[in-house]
Subunit: 268 residues, 2 copies
């Protein structure tokens, strides 16, 4: 049994809204990353408001957030006649592009060539973080980090061992997947299932703006899960880790809600 047209949208928004992270600047970053990441992509102040305001965020809060994003160099704005248009700066676009592959992969390729980097454990030691060739390592302890891919060439101070996990104790699972991350994934999975039941039978019943609002909420909340989830073999996660189910539900919904054209958003 479906709600009336207005009711289902309000209920879906309520369900999908992140109970933890309602920072408006962060929601705007998710929105631009999802809809207007290409060079030349712009969103008018009006379209921005029509997408964001149904979530209960006030125009004043949007203005403050845009001001902050301009100050931080993420977003720039320009006037076209009476219309104010907003777009990602080169810096903002680069940051957005950096995380997009992790956010938008429905099936991440299984990482290979796992290896450990071990730093010396002594009083005057250099912190492991300063010795790591990149940041893409998961820190297992003060002196041990785990990563995948090609072996680093330039880390003379570190013991490098190719490895594959045989037994993973609970303290490692908790380190890889702390309770907050587990709860965030579980909460999103529940929200997505509820939202799926609320949606109308056909995507044609949604306006481009409604589609944009729902995608924004889903992507924003998924970012918090997927970007905090270390890329580690399944063995490192708790047996009941809802990450893969959550990812599947995200992409089932995003596929059902295809990205609207920017022109359609401005037209309404």
């Amino acid at each position: 049994m479906k709600d009336t047209p207005d009711n289902w949208f309000a209920s879906a928004i309520q369900t999908l809204t992140d109970p933890q992270n309602q920072r408006v600047w962060s929601i705007i970053v998710s929105l631009f990353g999802d809809l207007a990441q290409a060079p030349g992509d712009r969103l008018s102040g009006g379209a921005l408001s029509r997408i964001i305001m149904p979530t209960g965020i006030k125009p004043e809060a949007i203005r403050v957030a845009l001001h902050r994003l301009r100050k931080d160099g993420w977003i720039d704005s320009a006037r076209q006649g009476r219309v104010s248009e907003h777009f990602l700066t080169d810096f903002g676009r680069a940051r957005s592009a950096e995380v997009s592959p992790r956010i938008y992969t429905p099936a991440p390729p299984a990482a290979k060539d796992w290896h450990l980097l071990i730093a010396e454990d002594s009083a005057g030691q250099i912190p492991l973080d300063d010795l790591l060739p990149t940041r893409d390592y998961f820190s297992l302890s003060r002196t041990v980090a785990l990563g995948s891919g090609p072996l680093p060439e330039d880390c003379k101070e570190l013991l490098v061992l190719s490895c594959c996990p045989d037994a993973v104790p609970d303290w490692v699972r908790t380190r890889v997947c702390p309770p907050e991350l587990f709860d965030a994934a579980q909460g999103l999975l529940t929200a997505l299932s509820q939202a799926e039941r609320l949606l109308p039978a056909s995507a044609a019943d949604l306006s481009p703006l409604q589609t944009a609002t729902l995608r924004m909420l889903i992507v924003h909340r998924w970012r918090r899960v997927v970007l905090r989830q270390p890329d580690l073999p399944t063995a490192f996660f708790p047996a009941d880790w809802p990450g893969p189910a959550c990812r599947a539900a995200v992409f089932r919904l995003l596929d059902w809600l295809p990205r609207p054209d920017l022109s359609a958003l401005e037209a309404e």
Copy 2:
């Protein structure tokens, strides 16, 4: 050019005598382990003196050492008429048998199935040593140990990873092979080369007692190197680690000096 018969033996003894470890009880342990490890094997006080005294150790020092070894349960003594006979106790024989495989292997089998055990690195942590399934692990740091062979089954607190070394930094090589161990191996290698040049052309020119004395000195000194050398892949040792050359020289000489019969030692 060879020395006169007496001179070569005195020079070989001087060359082979360990400059670091002249503890008489320890030399006697090496001697019994080499010549009289089997149940029923006995050495008379006279034979013991004739083997040991050429190294400059006085009869009184031998008596004190035997007293200590009896007190510690390593050795027992019995009178046969006017002769005092000494032999390993069951305890002493077991200790001796425990280390013999490592001491007497001319070519140790390459260890396989290397794995790391990683303990949690936190304030209230249980020391790694208390969590290790056996003592045959090399401690790389406070929380990381390396071992070979079958994966441990019963260490729930530890992360277990099969591994193979790719890059070994200097701090690991120094930990695996500290300067004292390196110097001991290098010193023994030099001593063995000098001794080889001093020996007569044919082993038939040596008496059983001379053979026993030289074997005792070689084995005693080799113990200090081989029992302190961790069983780790070659990559973990310094590039100029003299261990393998030292082992080869030890067994070249021990083969040239075959173990004399106990009866031959008593007959002289």
